[in-house]
Amino acid sequence: MPMLRGTLDPLVLKTVSWSPMHAFEITNWIEERSDGRVQIDDAALLQALHRLEDRGYLAGEWGVTENARRAKYYSLTAAGRAYLRTEAARLVDHLDAIVSILSAKTSTPRG
């Protein structure tokens, strides 16, 4: 299922708010948390990470993984935290509205 527009950035930011992570950790964490229901294309994730870093919401630094691989770790900046707060609120509100529309019971039976 394709990602809803505007949901990727808050998801990524939320994820790294727990602790600094590299790209695979982020996508894996999201996948596990959603029981596999949310899958992100890796290309899209990398672009999102670079974009968020460029805007100053994420800070990236090279490190070494547990498996001794070189990887770039991202952590949330203060600006990113603030952005996450407002974007998350907006998104939750939006989804809530969608849910309430879709789950409304049909009150007037046909025919």
């Binding site: 602790s19 600094p20 590299h22 790209a23 695979f24 950790e25 996508t27 894996n28 899958q39 294309d41 890796d42 290309a43 899209a44 994730l45 990398l46 672009q47 670079h50 974009r51 870093e53 460029d54 100053g56 994420l58 800070a59 630094e61 090279w62 490190g63 070494v64 993984t65 498996n67 691989r69 070189r70 990887a71 770039k72 770790y73 952590s75 900046t77 203060a78």
Partner: protein, 901 residues
């Protein structure tokens, strides 16, 4: 693995910009890492290596090459953006560094900014005055076609040449006869018109021909212009055009003004138009324009040269041809200009209106001041250069350290330039402020009090007013750009010089810096020389003012109050001492604190005195025919404390029925009678005094402080009462203190608003010397600025020298030199510089003071008192400026000084 590095930290720590290739490599690495991690993860879940790899690629969402390409493109864009940000940030860094540096040395910063502000600000203010008064084209259509036509009476004997207007009939004759001009307009000042209907107010006006505005290429802002046919015959309808200023001020810009009635000099007029904005007539002071044809009949005939003529050259007519035609016409009209003696030669002259826009003396004053401003600017530049040089030298070590840790020279030069530019910017802002204040001061110079008054006859137009001086964007741009150029130019040289120094030299010792001092010393010598030139100029001006104020004017000017009176129409009988004035005098004498009061038609320091001709019926025509004529009450001489030299004063018996009598002043007696005894002789003066007997000689009174007393004939008021009189009041104490009581008293007996222009004699003298004081004030301001700047320069050089020679001074003190001798060493060095500067400056001042010759009163341009005083002032200043560095030198601790190496 935790990294908590915030964005920007990399930039803050000034890590070098990542190259494009490095950023691409990073993107590739990250992509590979992501794929590898997923492969590891999948293998850990039991997938085969190949399958895991295929799955990881699938999870990319796009072909690997495409993804890689996309990431590269993004990286490129980011890198480009970063580069700009990086540059801006590095400049900001320099700015912050420079700001910190300037803030850390507030004295240096303040002095540099102040120096620029004074130099550039003064130049800008004077520039705006010169721009408005001399450079800017006249605010009329095609102003180079406009000419002024006047009568010139060539110099004759002691009398200088006079430029006059025309009698009205002469003007009309010329207008009909000429072919060179497409328009030929007349205007005559109509001073002190009384506006009634509403608040009573006195304004100046102009009688103008109907073509006046059209000739100048102007049109009324509202309403209509005068009808062209108006000039054809006398007795035109009472139609008036009012000035835009009057419309705004008196009528609150009332849109329904056209067609309204207004009482001017107690006659009803209809307002038909509102003049163009900013237009106050060519006289520069008119608020009402009245058709000359309405009053042509009442304008005095031949002999009264009241009408000024402005004309527009017809297309294709050269100025030369117009001049020739006018001269030829003038020669034919020569009879028009005969005085009663039939003696006067006259010529008709044509000159470009633009050449007459400002009194030549004012023009020269302004140009002198403009020159002075440039001198101050020069000094300011030298000072700024000196300050920056000094600062650069003082920072050689810092620079060397920076070079040692790898700063590029370009970067260092940029650092210096940013600092100079910041200084220049601050200086620019400050100088704009100084220029703004200066322009306001100049604009507030009331031209009617300062620069009119003494300008005689028809020689200049007053349309270009000081009050129109204002800073426009051009002047502000001038201030800013001058400041920036000074900052850049004088900042670049030290920046290049200081950064060129070889590393090892600078780190080893400061001594090389002392060598750079030679240039700075030369600059200080130049400053002192320039300051001396200005000081001499201002000194001469100040001495002139002092001499003018202390000159013997021939009467006692203290405790005299004067005011003018316009009697109501019909209140003066032609044949007797009028009752109106008797009532006024009686009432005035009754005011406490007043000793006596007298009447005079004119008086000293009153700019509007008439000149008329005097002749002896029984003698051959003399070279000089002009005399001032003043109608006075018999007690005028006792009120003014003018002494009677010989003969008898006026007495009550010299009434209208009795034989005509006059008094001459000494100058008139000498001019017209030479060695003869005038007493008992008979003379005629002007048109009103025929065959009168000279009964006495009185002391000469200066009409203006700066000109020798001229011949004056006094006529008793009982025998020749004029309409308007000035009341001279001798008070027992300070004249100004009784002014309000006097005003109230006069109001009891005089009609509303008939009294005006109340001034003490001291005030009148102030007005009469205003030009001189104005010049002295401005030149002194410039000279003091120059002196201050030169002192700052001297101080800078000496304190720099002391710093550079700390070691040497330390050794001297260690070897037993006394502190006083160390001080003498430094002060002596300062005085040596001043000495050289004074010698050079004196040469400049001798040359420069010649330009001021026309402005001097009772002084030669090489007045020794002034020069001596100025040299003393400079010497004292030099000692003061050297004192602080000298004190610092004498306090050098030898131990510290020697250890510093």
């Amino acid at each position: 693995m935790r990294f908590d590095i915030r964005p920007g930290v990399r930039r803050l720590l000034r890590f070098s910009i990542r190259t494009r290739a490095a950023m691409k490599r990073d993107a590739d690495d990250e992509l590979e890492a992501l794929i590898a991690c997923r492969v590891d993860h999948l293998i850990a879940r039991g997938m085969s290596a190949d399958d895991a790899r295929a799955e990881a690629i699938r999870r990319l969402g796009a072909p690997l090459d495409e993804v890689r390409h996309q990431l590269h493109t993004n990286a490129d864009q980011r890198e480009r953006r970063m580069r700009v940000v990086e540059f801006v940030e590095s400049v900001m860094e320099d700015v912050r560094y420079a700001a910190r540096g300037l803030a850390r040395r507030p004295a240096f910063t303040a002095v540099a900014v102040l120096t620029l502000a004074i130099g550039v600000g003064a130049t800008t203010a004077i520039f705006s005055a010169v721009n408005v008064l001399i450079l800017r084209p006249l605010p009329y259509a095609r102003p180079n076609e406009l000419m002024k036509v006047s009568v010139v009476l060539p110099a004759e004997g002691a009398r200088p040449s006079l430029t006059l207007g025309f009698a009205y009939p002469t003007y009309t004759t010329l207008r009909e006869g000429q072919r060179s001009f497409s328009d030929f307009a007349a205007y005559a000042l109509a001073p002190q018109l009384t506006l009634t209907s509403g608040d009573v107010e006195r304004v100046d006006g102009e009688y103008v021909s109907a073509s006046y505005l059209r000739t100048l290429g102007l049109a009324p802002e509202r309403g209509r212009d005068f009808d062209r046919s108006l000039d054809a015959h006398a007795g035109a309808p009472h139609e008036a055009i009012i000035s835009y200023a009057l419309w705004q001020r008196r009528f609150n810009a009332d849109p329904s003004i056209i067609g309204r009635a207004i009482d001017i000099d107690r006659e009803p007029w209809t307002i038909i138009g509102v003049g163009p904005r900013e237009f106050r007539g060519l006289s520069g002071q008119a608020d009402v324009f009245l058709p000359v044809a309405t009053t042509a009949a009442s304008l005095p005939g031949p002999g009264m040269h009241l009408v000024s003529v402005v004309a527009r050259r017809a297309p294709g007519v050269t100025a030369l041809r117009a001049t020739d035609e006018m001269s030829a016409l003038g020669a034919r009209l020569a009879n028009e200009f005969r005085n009663p003696m039939g003696k006067l030669a006259s010529e008709v002259h044509v000159s470009a209106l633009d050449a007459l826009r400002i009194d030549p003396l004012v023009k020269r004053s302004l140009l002198v001041l403009f020159g002075a401003a440039w001198l101050v600017l020069g000094i300011a530049c030298v000072n700024v250069a000196n300050l920056l040089l000094g600062r650069a030298s003082a920072r050689r070590r810092e620079i060397a350290v920076r070079v040692a840790i790898g700063a590029g020279r370009g970067r260092l030069v940029r650092l210096f330039l940013v600092e100079s530019l910041m200084l220049a910017l601050l200086g620019g802002i400050a100088s704009a402020a100084v220029a703004w204040i200066g322009a306001h001061v100049l604009a507030s110079v009331d031209p009617t009090t300062v620069f009119r008054g003494t300008s005689r006859g028809d020689a200049t137009i007053g349309a270009v007013a000081f009050s129109s001086i204002a800073l426009d964007w051009r002047a502000l741009a001038f201030a800013m750009s001058t400041s920036l150029v000074v900052g850049l130019f004088f900042g670049l040289a030290p920046a290049l010089g200081a950064t060129r120094a070889s590393l090892s030299d600078a780190l080893k010792s400061d001594r090389t810096a002392a060598g750079a001092g030679v240039g700075r010393r030369t600059l200080v010598v130049a400053e002192i020389a320039l300051a001396l030139v200005l000081l001499v100029g201002s000194g001469l001006m100040l001495r002139t003012v002092a001499k003018l104020l202390s000159v013997d004017v021939g009467f006692d000017k203290s405790n005299v109050l004067t005011f003018s009176l316009t009697p109501p129409p019909g209140s003066i009988a032609d044949d007797s001492m009028p009752g109106f004035y008797s009532r006024i005098l009686d009432r005035v004498r009754a005011v406490p604190g007043i000793a006596d009061a007298a009447l005079g038609s004119c008086g000293p320091f009153v700019p509007t005195c008439r000149l008329t001709s005097l002749w002896r019926p029984d003698a051959p025509v003399p070279d000089q025919v002009y005399t001032g004529m003043e109608v006075v009450t018999p007690n005028w001489f006792s009120v003014m404390h003018v002494r009677l030299v010989r003969g008898r004063p006026f007495s009550p018996t010299d009434h209208s029925g009795g034989p005509s009598v006059v008094l001459l002043n000494e100058s008139a007696a000498k001019t017209f009678f030479g060695a003869d005894d005038p007493i008992g002789q008979r003379i005629s003066v002007g048109r009103s005094v025929k065959d009168a007997e000279v009964i006495g000689i009185v002391g000469s009174v200066r009409q203006l402080p700066d000109s020798a007393p001229g011949p004056i004939t006094y006529v008793p008021a009982t025998q020749s009462p004029p309409e308007e009189m000035i009341v001279f009041v001798r008070t027992m104490s300070n004249a100004a203190t009784v002014a309000s009581a006097l005003r109230l008293a006069v109001r009891e007996v005089a009609p509303q608003r008939s009294m005006y222009d109340m001034q003490t004699m001291t005030q009148r003298q102030g007005v009469a010397t205003a030009k001189n004081r104005f010049r002295a004030m401005l030149l002194t301001a410039f000279a003091l600025a120059a002196l201050l700047l030169a002192a700052i320069g001297l101080y800078g050089v000496l304190s720099f020298a002391v710093t550079a020679r700390t070691r040497e001074i330390g050794i001297r003190i260690a070897l037993g030199a006394e502190r006083a001798s160390v001080q003498r060493l430094v002060i002596g060095e300062g005085l040596a510089l001043v000495g050289v500067g004074v010698v050079i400056g004196l040469a400049g001042a001798f040359a420069g003071a010649r330009l001021l010759r026309t402005f001097l009163f009772d002084l030669t341009p090489s007045d020794p008192v002034t020069y001596a005083a100025i040299i003393v002032v400079l010497g004292v200043t030099a000692v003061l400026a050297s004192w602080v560095p000298a004190l610092r030198a004498s306090r050098v601790d030898p131990v510290i000084a020697l250890r510093a190496e």
